[in-house]
């Protein structure tokens, strides 16, 4: 758990005792702009790691590279000890790296329940020919149905089970997306700004769910802006600026880190500001 990180020094690129994700020399260019330039990063298993940084720091780009949704120009990274660069995003998802999106992607024209039932891995009924023979997949479907109902109850979405996801509020969609990701039983869940556009009351409940994921043994990597959220929720914080990792550490280390404060507050306004990447 979080205690495993006790002896780890708060410095960029530091080695962790039990990393689930290890990235080396990852670069992504947009024309002449080096949007991501990460030297070395290890993400510890079983803890909540926050990826922070000012707008345009390259957090989301880095995030997209890691889970295969964008192609890196250079670099290697491994997920659970196996190589993960250049791997198709659906394959990474099957290996247990499941992400959510900054702009929530609830499957609007499907019911909340169908959203949930889509997620489990290895469904035999998802093969075209097997789908024609219900006895092949019915028992698996029933199991998934039970688990979906349990999860919906836990996320307090059970009263919306048969509603279309498109009719849900923004916050409910965030909850649904998180519940859906959970439904696929990931080992690393990557949340891209899970609190964006969510009202404060719901933020608390979302945070509760995030910490619950960790307590059940999942690893969480999330991109976030809200400093309060980061300080109270995360076990480890990685700060990016201009594509690089400038600081790493426990929330308390980061709060007082000069490089982080400089990146956020910008000692040199305007002068060396580079293009926006997000």
């Amino acid at each position: 758990m979080a205690g495993d990180l006790d002896g780890v020094a708060p410095e960029p690129g530091v080695a962790k005792p039990d990393p689930i994700l290890v990235a080396d020399e990852v670069q992504r260019r947009y024309g002449g702009l080096l949007a991501v330039d990460v030297g070395h990063l290890e993400v510890q298993r079983g803890v909540i790691t926050a990826l922070i940084g000012p707008n345009g720091a390259g957090k989301t780009t880095f995030f997209n590279l890691l889970c295969g949704f964008d192609r890196a120009d250079e670099g290697r990274w491994t997920f659970q000890g196996e190589s993960a660069e250049g791997v198709k995003p659906y394959k990474l998802a099957r290996r247990g790296m499941v992400r959510t999106f900054q702009l929530t992607k609830a499957l609007a024209g499907m019911t909340v329940l169908d959203n949930m039932l889509l997620a489990p891995k290895g469904q035999s009924g998802e093969r075209m020919l097997a789908s024609l023979v219900p006895p092949i997949w019915r028992s698996q479907e029933t199991e998934n149905l039970e688990r979906a109902r349990d999860l919906l109850q836990r996320f307090k979405l059970d009263h919306l089970t048969d509603e279309y996801a498109g009719g849900l509020s923004g916050g409910q969609r965030k909850l649904l997306e998180m519940a859906r990701a959970l439904m696929s039983q990931p080992s690393l869940i990557m949340l891209d700004e899970p609190m964006a556009g969510v009202n404060p009351a719901l933020t608390q409940s979302l945070l509760g769910h995030v910490t619950a994921l960790r307590d059940e043994g999942m690893s969480v990597l999330f991109v976030e802006h809200d400093m309060d959220v980061i300080m109270t929720t995360s076990d480890w914080v990685v700060c990016m600026a201009e594509g690089r990792i400038i600081a790493e550490g426990r929330p308390a280390d980061i709060a007082g880190n000069a490089a982080v404060i400089e990146a956020y507050l910008g000692i040199d306004h305007g002068g060396t500001t580079k293009g926006k990447v997000s």
Partner: protein, 325 residues
């Protein structure tokens, strides 16, 4: 002509071969557009290869089954050929490539060098007789129906039987498929490909499966159309046929199981009724004008449908509105 017989004629067209063949063609398009969100604007290309499969088989003296196999095989190849490069790209590319491919196929069939195979612009005639399509017809010859207008000949009933049979069979197959986890993945892809990918679904493979299967169903419709007509020529396989099938799908309700069947019947009833009414007004309208007005009516009808009832006859308004389609 009495108004009653105009109604009877429209009904005859709607539940007759015209309705059946459009229903069959639309079932495939509905799988593409209604369930998977694929913008296939060249569905007529699949009908064309099915039609020429049967036509070429007749011309070469092969059996009717060989003809069907030829058409289905060609539809699979066409689906893979168009699908593999385009389905990994954004949806617009598929629309452009399919509309172009259908046109290329028609021009190829029409071209002089293809004459030994396709008969060029003259096409291939007398094929139902050569293939023995009507030979197993057990319906005693004569006419069946009510009155003078609502009647079917034994031969008409025979091709209706087969075409409606295929349309209902294809509908049942689609019904089984879309109510399974496989169909759930298709709908997820229609709603948001990235979300489906993030949940570990190999989106390209599912799109390809849907594209090929819908194309094969389309090729069956093409084969039945030429068996019923007894001849195949390039002029029939033009883009407006694709758009007519889109009208059928949307009218019946895109992404509903029975939508294509209901849509085809209602479509032909309205089209034929309009033609009957226009041809029997107190002033004379030439046939070409009737054809043009009919097309214009179809366009206006489709627009009104999209504005006032985007879910079609059978669709669920909540689903369509929620999906923002």
């Amino acid at each position: 002509m009495s108004w009653l017989s105009i109604l009877a004629l429209a009904l005859q067209t709607a539940i007759g071969f015209q309705g059946a063949s459009y229903a069959l063609g639309a079932v495939g398009l509905n799988l593409h557009f209604g369930y998977t969100g694929l913008s296939n604007f060249g569905h007529v290309g699949f009908l064309l290869v099915g039609a020429y499969g049967v036509g070429i088989a007749a011309d070469q003296g092969w059996s009717i089954w060989t003809g069907f196999a030829l058409g289905i095989g060609a539809a699979v190849v066409l689906g893979l050929l168009l699908g593999i490069p385009t389905l990994r790209l954004r949806g617009d590319y598929l629309a452009i490539v399919t509309i172009a491919a259908a046109e290329i196929l028609r021009l190829l069939a029409n071209a002089r060098p293809s004459e030994p195979l396709t008969g060029g612009s003259r096409g291939i005639g007398g094929l139902s007789a050569r293939l023995g399509f009507y030979r197993p017809n057990f319906i005693p010859s004569g006419t069946y129906g009510i009155g003078d207008s609502f009647v079917f000949s034994s031969g008409q009933l025979w091709s209706m039987l087969w075409t409606w049979g295929l349309a209902v069979g294809a509908t049942l197959l689609v019904w089984r498929l879309v109510r399974s986890p496989w169909g759930r993945v298709l709908r997820a892809i229609r709603e948001d490909e990235d979300a489906a990918t993030a949940l570990g679904k190999n989106v390209v493979v599912y799109k390809l499966q849907s594209f090929v299967l819908g194309g094969v169903i389309g090729s069956l419709a093409g084969a039945m159309i030429v068996l019923n007509a007894g001849s195949v020529s390039p002029t029939r396989w033009i883009a407006p046929l694709t758009f007519a099938l889109y009208t059928v799908v949307i009218l019946g309700g895109a992404g509903t199981v029975w939508g294509p069947v209901v849509g085809a019947v209602v479509y032909w009833f309205i089209i034929d009724l309009a033609e009957g009414v226009l041809g029997n007004l107190w002033f004379d309208i030439s046939d070409t004008t009737v054809g043009a007005v009919r097309l214009a009516l179809m366009g206006v009808g489709l627009m009104l449908l999209m504005i006032f009832r985007p879910q079609g006859i059978l669709g669920n308004k909540k689903e369509v509105m929620a999906g923002g389609r």
